[in-house]
Amino acid sequence: MSNMRTINFTLNGQEVSADIEPHRNLVELLQRFDLFGARESCGQGLCGCCTVLVDGKAVSGCLYFAVWVDGKSVTTVESLDAEGVLSIVQQAFIECGAFQCGFCTPGFVLMVHQLLKEHPSPSDDDIRHYLSGNLCRCAAYPEIIEAVKVAARRA
């Protein structure tokens, strides 16, 4: 198709390129790289299941055109245990039982990474503020809040 364009970007630390049309979103682009941790669920940027970091900032992959990552750095949940070691946040989620079905978990984990980067000792209000855009239908919210606190103490 004539709208196809080639984009070059950094994906979890590696230089990659892709041919993609403007109407496709970032979640679709990641699926081409067999990365499924970012999931389109509500499709409206409200549930956070599609959270991806672009140049270090969390975005909703379902509301972000794939072509926009041209020249940028994209980080997905799959990079957090690149060395085979879970991140502090992931470890805290496990210890606190901060999920049930797990579908929303990668999004929460990435949001908590951004939270702790910007607020290393977050207040309860900071935690709720950063995570108010992530939904968990299994409602593991109390355990998630606990996990953030555990991770913050260790970070």
Binding site: P22, V59, Y130
Partner: protein
Amino acid sequence: MIPFEMVEPQSLQEAVSLLDPEEPTIRPVAGGTALMLMMKAGVFQPTRLICLHAIEPEHARITVSGEALRIGAMATLSDVEHDANVAARLPVLKRAMRTLSNVRVRNVARVGGALAHGDPHMDLPPVLAALGAKVSVAGPKGHRELPVEALYSGYYETVLEKNELITSVTVPARNGRKATYMKVTSRTADDWPALGVAVSFAHKDGTIRDPIVIVSAATEKLTRMTSTEKELQGATVDDKALARAGEAAAAEAQILADAHGTAAYKRELLKVYLRRAVRQALAEG
């Protein structure tokens, strides 16, 4: 989503020239968070999007000129949230950001888009309107400036031509005026508001001077409440005066029913929250 073309102008002039006043399927896109929702719902099916990212650097700055604060239209909402000058001069704006959508949307959505979208439920326009802010608009015939409250002509409608772009918004010096914004949600905490009330006023000798009262979300478009302002002008902040102002606001606002509540209920909310907003503005300083 249906395929479309995306072009990336390298200057503001080029961007304006690529827009077509007669063609509704061509639109500018900056953050895209609102536009993509419309595209996914099928209510907007573009043939071409004019991506403004290439002109971002010069239009994303937040600067202080004299006593005023100028926010470039390409600044993200999180740029505004974390800007030191905003925090120091306009704490009300920083506070409003915290409950505006969510962190991911604020990381991407731009000030220009938040103003130009015309959805009456948005939080940024009422705050800026209450602060007396003006938007600068670029079009083929040059620049013009208009108050934020004059931007809206209807539900999702603005007075902007299809080939005009907001370039910045300028917030005048606060001069000690009190200001606050109250977002009232009627279902869950992260809901769109059932009602937004933004107020600013000078407070001298225990009385309210030169109030600006803005109502959003419950009305078809952001609305400045001039009768309510008259009621508040010179009033002392007490229950009686605030109740009178609340009644005036409920009578003045053209409140609509929707999933957040009936018009009758939202009128009650307005009476209560106008009072609470004035008191909160005083308390927040």
